[in-house]
Symmetry: C2
Subunit: 503 residues, 2 copies
């Protein structure tokens, strides 16, 4: 037990118990899993597997909810649950909170909306739940939130379980990324793409109106949390500016922070007002916040996902480029030229190689190819050279700080088409896919770690193709299409130079 | 026959015969479909289906190539082919061109590289093939190109055939988009994504070094071609600047042109020099060209694909927004706020609705939702309202020029998960997917056409999900994730105001 406690010094933080409750009462779930939000959320809690036997649906009429014994009131429970979860009509919330207080519940998640974000009576209701919480010494996330996903629920005591109070049904694969979001959608609806791209999210929290617990609390928690190595934020406003700035400045050099700020324009500010009741600041203030703290910001949801993945890899394997010199090796002149332009526009360099390095390549590529940087191997049937030997040569040359390889296809697809055209493929060739993790991906990852030179692989096929899946499953940065590798490499390099490999 | 001739006035253009040859001689193909480029290209020609019996492989040793009788020399052929296709070592090219000239061949595609792009002797070889072509009055695409894809091969006489001399193996679904590219990759390797996103490409040409036929020739051809309604260009240099400008100014108001210019930075210029031997201009010149002609330009390959798809839809169904006022209806406050900000940053407006329109919505959405623009319906189980009734109300209101709907999921996936959780789904619900094309997609497309108000659908799932596929197959603009809808709507609106719906 002592060992575990040493591993998890963050257990003292009040959010630890909210993210790792040993029992939960759920208000507002029934058996309609298509039309009732609370039911969908309860389904996800059940599916998480860690709370078996300690989930307590509260329902005024039903005896069982989703196969679990239900209680009429929280006061009837045989124990005091660690967490109460309210997905109820707005007006019932204060009464239920009172009962939770009487029962001795200390932590709540409140999904119900209709508070300060609707104005008028909603503001009165907000004040009411604040004072109830104060009276009973309770903490709560929300209202107007989806709650929490903790892929590390109960770890290391409990294995392969999660706690997911969010809706939608898709759950991300857990990893070193933690998200805190003032939008439920950004906390949860990224899951499909995250799983497609290999973005491994360990924790994700929808903070809602932040009536009691705010995004800065989570920043503080994620700072201490050894399971968190990269932080993603979706921001509509920041309530405790000074605390946020102080924390962010401490965190960023150790754990990169990626942020979206959604306010700053006329209609977006209005939209935010009615979304979480926040008063969005202006863009210039946030630009300053991001610049002073080193937080990496974007307005693009795809950038957000890709940056999270990029830094997740860099943190986990400690692969940070030492400078801005990039080598591109490509079987396509056009993609090579486009990436080169993109990198230069983003402040990186694609320098010419030394004569010595050039001649090493010229000996290995067709006579019509060229060994300037980018190296355009043109049509080239030595796939192993393109994806392993060439990057190896570049890494060991010491002439560049990172490498982009364009030319990842799905050879199984090619072979299938070739066979359907009546030609024969030799048996060993058909097994090549299964050997790639050992013959290419593992050694290239070792090289990346040894030299701290990232290698980004790029191809023109959607992620769903099996060869792409194999590379993603090996946790090697793979990019479908050639926009994002340059975006991500620029973000990674600028961060690395600022905080990791100071010149 | 007269009718067909009227339909196809562009048949007189010299490129018509190159794109629609009735017979083809192929040099440089054998039976190795994995390691020899020419073999892969021949495979695609055979698979196209339209030239059955009129493909003539030329090979010094083999009697048959890919199951087709081969000839030792073009001089041995029983007829003069309409097109000769050379994928040969550089030094053999002049000799083979001579023989083609003697045989009376008038059109060639030359894939072989090693000409001006390698400098030195390559320049001499370039001059040599120029003078052979002149002597025999031959036209050729290339060298250093992949050739042509014509999804409309022989249309309307020949149905369901294509001519595809390009490599890779994936072929796009044909439509009203035509591409001319100074990169083989951009001409062909977009196919996987194009098919994933529903980008329907009818013609795609890799022009290579443009020794004899250039991108401006294709612009001229696409202008006349009734099968072309949107044009995509990948540009490293423009050889005939004045002709290009004159043509582009004529074409853009009728057929939108989307362009990538890959030069303009230091290393990208070097990379282009060794790619096609072009001397790339500077960025400022190209910015001026794009501004003066109305060509829509981007440095992003995903933008390129999405813009092509957006204009393909707008052209085919004549749906151009009349102004910059956008309505957003969303089940997510966060995605709504992000799209709102994005639209405003790109010069569009997300205006508040009239009280009358607001109250119509307030009657239909939950009390915790709001009817400002964006309309945040919050959690809402009336999927039909979200995807049909609400956009209909917005279109008919006359208060906005375009509509974005966020909240497309795959209900079949939900139902599967719900059933796996032991709940029952009613049978009619399970069939809903199959009814969507008739109950939602067809009527919404009619509304879009009648009012010239585009509706863009957006959801968080990758395109591969069946519900997404159904919407894409109905040729309705569907976007996976919420970055691209605002990009595309901005490009569409700015073009529409400039050229289609002048104020």
């Amino acid at each position: 037990l002592n060992e575990i406690d040493n591993l998890l010094p963050f257990k003292d933080h009040f959010l630890y118990n909210i993210l790792n409750p040993r029992s939960i009462a759920v208000f507002g779930a029934n058996n309609d899993l298509l039309g009732t939000m609370g039911s969908m959320q309860l389904r996800n809690i059940i599916a998480g597997g860690g709370l078996d036997g300690n989930i307590f649906p509260i329902h005024p009429r039903l005896d069982t909810v989703q196969g679990i014994k239900a209680y009429k009131s929280i006061l009837d429970l045989p124990l005091t649950p660690d967490l109460a979860f309210l997905i109820l009509p707005t007006k019932v919330v204060p009464t239920v909170m009172e009962e939770c207080g009487q029962k001795g519940v200390k932590n709540l998640l409140i999904t119900s909306g209709g508070f300060r974000e609707v104005g008028g009576e909603g503001i009165t209701l907000s004040q009411q739940i604040d004072s109830i919480a104060k009276r009973y010494n309770m903490r709560f996330i929300g209202p107007n939130c989806l709650g929490i996903y903790n892929g590390w629920y109960g770890f290391p005591n409990i294995k392969n379980a999660n706690l997911n109070t969010l809706w939608v049904y898709e759950t991300p694969e857990r990893g070193n990324i933690s998200i805190a979001s003032q939008s439920g959608t950004i906390a949860t609806q990224l899951s499909w793409y995250a799983n497609e791209l290999g973005v491994k999210i360990g924790k994700s929290v929808s903070v809602g109106n932040e009536e009691n617990i705010d995004i800065t609390d989570f920043l503080e928690y994620y700072q201490k949390d050894p399971q968190t190595e990269v932080i993603g934020l979706y921001i509509e406003e920041i309530k405790r500016g000074k605390d946020f700035m102080r924390l962010a400045k401490e965190i960023v050099p150790c754990k990169p922070v990626i942020a979206i700020y959604a306010g700053g324009t006329e209609a977006s500010t209005r939209s935010i007002m009615s979304h979480t009741g926040s008063i969005a600041g202006n863009q210039r203030i946030f630009d300053t916040v991001f610049k002073e703290t080193g937080i990496i910001s974007t307005n693009s949801i795809m950038d957000f996902l890709y940056y999270l993945r990029t830094f997740s890899f860099a943190q986990k394997y400690n692969v940070y480029p030492k400078g801005e010199k990039v080598a591109i090796v490509s079987d396509s002149g056009g993609a090579g030229a486009m990436m080169t332009k993109s990198l230069e526009l983003k402040g990186l360099k694609v320098p010419e190689f030394s004569q010595e390095l050039k001649s090493k390549f010229l000996a290995k590529i067709p006579s019509t190819a060229n060994a300037n940087n980018p190296i355009d191997v043109t049509f080239h049937d030595d796939f192993f050279a393109l994806i392993y030997k060439f990057p190896e040569l570049l890494i060991k040359s010491g002439e560049v700080d990172s490498v982009i390889v364009f030319g990842i296809y799905d050879l199984d697809e090619f072979m299938e088409i070739i066979e359907s055209s009546g030609m024969k493929i030799e048996e060993p060739m058909k097994l090549i896919k299964d050997t790639i993790p050992l013959t290419v991906l593992k050694p290239i990852k070792k090289l990346m770690q040894k030299y701290s030179v990232p290698v980004f692989y790029v191809g023109p096929l959607p992620y769903r193709y099996p060869w792409n899946k194999i590379i993603i499953n090996s946790e090697i940065p793979l990019f479908s299409m050639w926009d994002q590798p340059t975006n991500c490499l620029a973000a990674l390099t600028h961060y690395s130079i600022a905080f990791r490999n100071k010149k």
